[in-house]
Symmetry: C2
Subunit: 216 residues, 2 copies
Amino acid sequence: MFVTLEGPEGSGKTSQGEALAATLSKRIPLVLTREPGGTEFGERVRDTLLSFGAPPLDPLTQLLLLSAARAQHVREVLRPALADQRNVLCIRYSDSSRAYQGGGDGLPEASVEAAIAIATDGLEPDLTILLDLDPIEGLRRRASAGTEGAQEGWNRFDARELAFHERVRTAYLQLARKWPERVVTVNAARPFDIVRAEILEIVLSRLAVDTTGGTP
Amino acid sequence: MFVTLEGPEGSGKTSQGEALAATLSKRIPLVLTREPGGTEFGERVRDTLLSFGAPPLDPLTQLLLLSAARAQHVREVLRPALADQRNVLCIRYSDSSRAYQGGGDGLPEASVEAAIAIATDGLEPDLTILLDLDPIEGLRRRASAGTEGAQEGWNRFDARELAFHERVRTAYLQLARKWPERVVTVNAARPFDIVRAEILEIVLSRLAVDTTGGTP
């Protein structure tokens, strides 16, 4: 099963992803990975995005650069892991391009979807957990996280105006309405352990369906 | 007018491009630029491509990464120069993706064209000079050029098999047949000054048409 974890700044993707992976990996073979890192090339892309933060690269450049990291990630990590019967938990994937470059930056949906199609070659998640959070709360959390937040690599978006983050959130919620079977929204404003338990329950129930209810 | 200079390794794109620019810039406002350099970001992309040369990045990753450099180049250099009534001479552009990632690496034409469409937003050259050369001669020239050749940034392709370069040449020649009005093939196996004079004549005659024969 291919699961992605999505959500805005400060919604807890990294900490929840690590907690979920720690629990799941005791039961099933699991690979925890992330975008735009996840490969040596992806790390380079992340560094490049950060170093061109002011002034930022053109949104189309960002879309294509992140898509390049995704293409490499799909071929180097995701496809081999899935072919090897391992499960994959990936922090950020195509929905981040839809929410940030599409919703946030306002790039045409056709360009975003074309870039995703080239990069993923049709590899879509079976399940996406969307950690939903009010942008003001997310930015507050990120600011108080200090240097640890800086390590996540997407914190250059913190400096953008709140309106951008509102558009990102709106786009994420639209994706959840568009693909209700795939995208499950979780309220990330609640205490960590509550959110953690809910994510685990969603993934385990989906895994059970996946292993008992599907066609062979 | 937007002119591009294309061709395989060792065909003389850089030296001919510089010679042409030196002559033309005495008559008309001209910007000489190149891909994947041409912007600070493009230089970073070139460095990245070189540093991941062994093993090379996935062809799709290369396509998207070079497209990211192109998107930035179009918006930061090409569009502003053309909007400012300057002429642009660009060494390598979309046809390089068609020839190398399409013809050489065998990526689907749909993916290559989709990436070009996203990156260029419809900006096509008015004229493309294709410096045609037998790959064996091109590789021989490049090898004898030593460290100077290494500065061009595309020399990592030198190590690939001759068959790759044959496919690149075939793809280039197909582009010239597909768009005979735009792509003019020049035999680059002849002495430098002969080739130089022919390129200058082609560009000047096109410029004359452009300034006297076109609709306003």
